[in-house]
């Protein structure tokens, strides 16, 4: 029970702390307006090139928009502790740091779902995409699994922040690569084999595919295998993040490099 409390309440408190410095206009501009234009950009590009239909781009990009909150959030969940000089305090805590940091990823996953829902709604309304009402619960599930998986991916990158100084480089490059490799904008069949294979080990790839099937009216049963794969990818990153956090924490203590910026 105490662990669950640490996982959820600890994460929420850390997330709320962000709003000491950010403002609603910044939140809306960065997390809603930017991603919506990303969706419109690729939807219009797709229309012009006729690579795939509107559903492919709108649904895929809506799921992908969660990466913004999840990858950067997960990364900065660790990186900001170092930047603001509080990493030492967190690591001195007598509670499990793995649970502390995994809890940090949860609000970002929730944020990712919110962005994906808003982007999908706005994108569908602006571009005239009809989604069967029966598909909505399944779509929400796909976005939730994708966002959670992506948040753990972000936390894995954040763990690298205990080892490397500049987590911004890592997160920016990761977001750019997700745009290319997840098959959200270029169909996986059009990518070289190794790129498509790499994409299958990344978050969002399977969630986007599942969401497309649901939006096409295929039903939850058809989407379940992809959702299962996405959940496995997410679980893999959660374990990897926990391992890396443990290893890098030990290493940082040994080399006294915790607060090195």
């Amino acid at each position: 029970m105490k662990t669950l409390r640490l996982l959820t309440i600890g994460g929420v408190i850390a997330y709320r702390a962000l709003f000491n410095w950010t403002r609603p206009s910044v939140f809306i501009g960065t997390l809603f307006v930017g991603p919506l234009f990303q969706l419109l950009f690729f939807a219009y590009l797709g229309r012009q090139l006729q690579v795939a239909d509107d559903r492919f781009y709108i649904v895929g990009n809506a799921v992908l928009t969660a990466t913004l909150a999840c990858v950067f959030g997960g990364t900065l969940a660790v990186g900001n502790e170092r930047r603001y000089g509080t990493l030492g305090h967190v690591l001195l805590s007598p509670r499990s740091r793995t649970v502390v940091f995994l809890g940090r990823a949860l609000p970002y996953a929730g944020n990712g779902i919110l962005i994906a829902v808003v982007t999908l709604t706005a994108g569908a309304l602006l571009l005239g995409l009809r989604i069967p009402p029966a598909a909505l619960p399944g779509l929400l599930l796909a976005m939730a699994v994708g966002s959670l998986s992506c948040a753990f991916f972000g936390l894995t990158l954040g763990a690298l922040g205990l080892r490397f100084r500049d987590v911004w480089v890592i997160s920016n490059v990761a977001v750019a690569l997700l745009l290319l490799l997840t098959g959200v904008n270029v169909p996986a069949a059009a990518l070289p084999g190794w790129m498509a294979a790499a994409g299958r080990w990344l978050p969002i790839t399977h969630a986007a595919e599942a969401a497309r099937r649901l939006a096409a009216g295929d039903g939850l049963t058809a989407a379940l295998p992809e959702l299962g794969r996405e959940a496995l990818v997410g679980l893999g990153y959660a374990v990897l993040a926990a391992l890396l956090l443990k290893i890098f924490e030990t290493e940082s203590r040994r080399t006294a490099s915790l607060e090195t910026i």
């Binding site: 206009s25 930017g34 419109l40 590009l45 012009q48 090139l49 270029v186």
Partner: protein
């Protein structure tokens, strides 16, 4: 002063591992995405256009984040006040910063073309090669001047990078860098028409695949000069406002 200032800021940016890595990797990823998208559309004859468009997107990103980031960096380093109290017009102090971001952004254009040539065998058969070079130079200068207009807003805002995050895709979209503006809703036309990025992109695309390059270059230059004038006035205004409100140094 402009030349020395631009060189100084180019040097400063070239010392940042973040700037270098982002400038090296992101344009290449965007170019790869554009190439595979255009290839899968069976539009291989337009691959050069795609590479040019992706490169231009990189130049815009560099200017957008560079202009905002440069000022924010000055804030974090505590040197923004020093810059603003320099016995020169603010426009002369900040224009080199935005020009430098445009100049470093040309790497994106060159890198995407080189990447396309070496990896995907895209033939660099520009219809007007000389005009392409001129258009590229004008485009970089124009974006630098447009960046100045943005920078004047960034000085006033504490969270300027958030505005930059919002503006990347809209300008890519409306300017027709990769998506032709003819497929966009009609109401975007007037917005596109007043952006120097639209005319710069148009000039580069026309030099690549044929068309009247020089009118686009001329309009791009004209709008960018207007941006410089407005940017100068705006910068003076917001500088005074930021001094009065004591928000200049707030990071």
């Amino acid at each position: 002063m402009l030349a020395v200032g631009t060189l100084l800021h180019v040097k400063q940016m070239s010392r940042s591992p973040f700037e270098i890595t982002i400038a090296l990797v992101v344009p290449i990823v965007q170019a790869t995405l554009a190439v595979y998208l255009f290839r899968s559309a069976a539009g291989s004859h337009r691959l050069l256009d795609a590479a040019v468009g992706a490169g231009l997107m990189g130049v815009w990103s560099s200017v957008l984040f560079g202009s905002g980031g440069a000022i924010q960096n000055q804030r974090w380093q505590g040197t923004l006040e020093m810059i603003m109290i320099a016995p020169r017009r603010p426009v002369l102090v900040l224009l080199p910063v935005t020009l430098a971001t445009g100049l470093t952004g040309t790497y994106a254009l060159l890198a995407t073309l080189a990447w396309g040539r070496l990896l995907y065998g895209i033939r660099l058969d520009f219809v007007h090669p000389f005009a392409f070079v001129i258009a590229a130079v004008v485009c970089v200068i124009a974006l630098g001047m447009f960046g100045l207009l943005l920078a004047s807003t960034f000085v006033l805002m504490r969270n300027a990078n958030a505005l930059a995050n919002t503006l990347e895709y809209p300008i890519w979209l409306v300017s027709g860098m990769l998506v032709p503006i003819t497929v966009l809703p009609v109401w975007t036309g007037p917005i596109a028409a007043v952006l120097p990025t639209t005319w710069g992109a148009r000039a580069l695309h026309e030099a690549t695949s044929g068309g009247p390059v020089w009118p686009s270059v001329g309009i791009c230059l004209g709008i960018s000069l207007l941006c410089l004038v407005f940017g100068g006035f705006s910068l003076t205004y917001v500088e005074r406002r930021a001094r009065a409100a004591a928000t200049l140094a707030l990071a």
